[in-house]
Subunit: 237 residues, 2 copies
Amino acid sequence: MNKFNEIYLDLEAAILNQRYKPGDLLPSENTLATTYNVSRETIRKALVLLLESGYIQKQQGKGSIVLDVKRFNFPVSGLTSYKEIQDTQHIKGKTILTKNERQLMPQHIIQQFNLPADTQVHYIERQRQVNGESVILDKDYLLTSIIPEMPDKEAENSLYNYIEHTLGLVIGYAQKEFTVEPITKEDKLLMDLQNDSHVVVVRSSVYLEDTRFFQYTESRHRLDKFRFVDFARRRTP
Amino acid sequence: MNKFNEIYLDLEAAILNQRYKPGDLLPSENTLATTYNVSRETIRKALVLLLESGYIQKQQGKGSIVLDVKRFNFPVSGLTSYKEIQDTQHIKGKTILTKNERQLMPQHIIQQFNLPADTQVHYIERQRQVNGESVILDKDYLLTSIIPEMPDKEAENSLYNYIEHTLGLVIGYAQKEFTVEPITKEDKLLMDLQNDSHVVVVRSSVYLEDTRFFQYTESRHRLDKFRFVDFARRRTP
DNA sequence: GAGTGGTCTAGACCACATA
DNA sequence: ATGTGGTCTAGACCACTCT
């Protein structure tokens, strides 16, 4: 592991353990450099990670101020799977695999990404239940050219765990789009919608680290169960 | 301006102008270092900015690959004001200032942020119109202790322009929360809702660079006009 | 003036991809 | 073997804050 990553994790733990409390200043970069026995630039790389995660705010001439991270509860932003969020948030839910079959990629996605017309995918459909209610419906399209097999067990457990650990692929980045759309007959069938007329739709295109497109996902959320939290830094436009 | 920022803007322009096309490799870091006459670490800082903005993907041993920046997928993520989005997207809209008055910060926000009970704010309420329809309702609470005056003209134009350029304050970061909630009587009054029962609510807490809290915003969007796009990189949880 | 973070350098060694 | 990006260093100078 990198030095700066180690230091980042160490400082993160110290902040989460309240060894550094909100409003406190971290030790100066020079101090940290000597205590960790690394150069100052390495410390600065660790601090950038803390900065991006919203743990600290830096001020020239002053120091690195610890922010109140408790308020930033749900880091649902970024590229994290449902299973992973569930684990880190200690939500107990249930996933029901309703479909796992090979088919051709739907036409509109073919066009959007300029894929060959005969692109084959694993189509995976899953209901996410919380307190016995189906509140999320996930539809995943995974290229069979990159992911040859998709066992039911893995689809039910964690897709990303299977892709990264079993297959050894490295996930790189994704583009996500959030909209609110009228419900379909399928939603009505597969989700426990009360009298809702709409659902939140999150569409993601996911790429490997080598820039190969490999997954398209449509995640449909019941309105009252949808919440998205983001930490943003100002960058003058 | 920094060297690495200049280089970032230069490379960004080159990508947007298609001098480097999607799939192309950027010149190597060493090449860039010599052509820009800077050290390699400086080039690397510029590349980090391109990376975070989703312009490139780096691969060890290979190079920096230019990604397909779908221009219409404008990044509404981050910390950018409505006016700024409007400008960069060339949307022609109209803002109607419906309220601009001093009052006390509402009780629930006082509690949430541990503010003094008598915290005074400018309460600003604005309708955002597109094609003559009120589709967004913005409610802003700005601490008078930090922003003493709030002229109507500035409130109607751009809050952030006024805060940053006229007052010389530096905006730092924000926490945002997206939910979908039932409409209120006020929504019904101030927005052109057809038969909608819900609106998207974006609540933001905005802080200055020196970590002072100065703004709370509630932005209410008509469902069919809401769209949020995000670029995310994988960070193993 | 002393201490802080912000930028930048020139060089080193490593891990990885490609030929 | 060569070239690529990834990490790390030791030092320098600058801009800023605070006393």
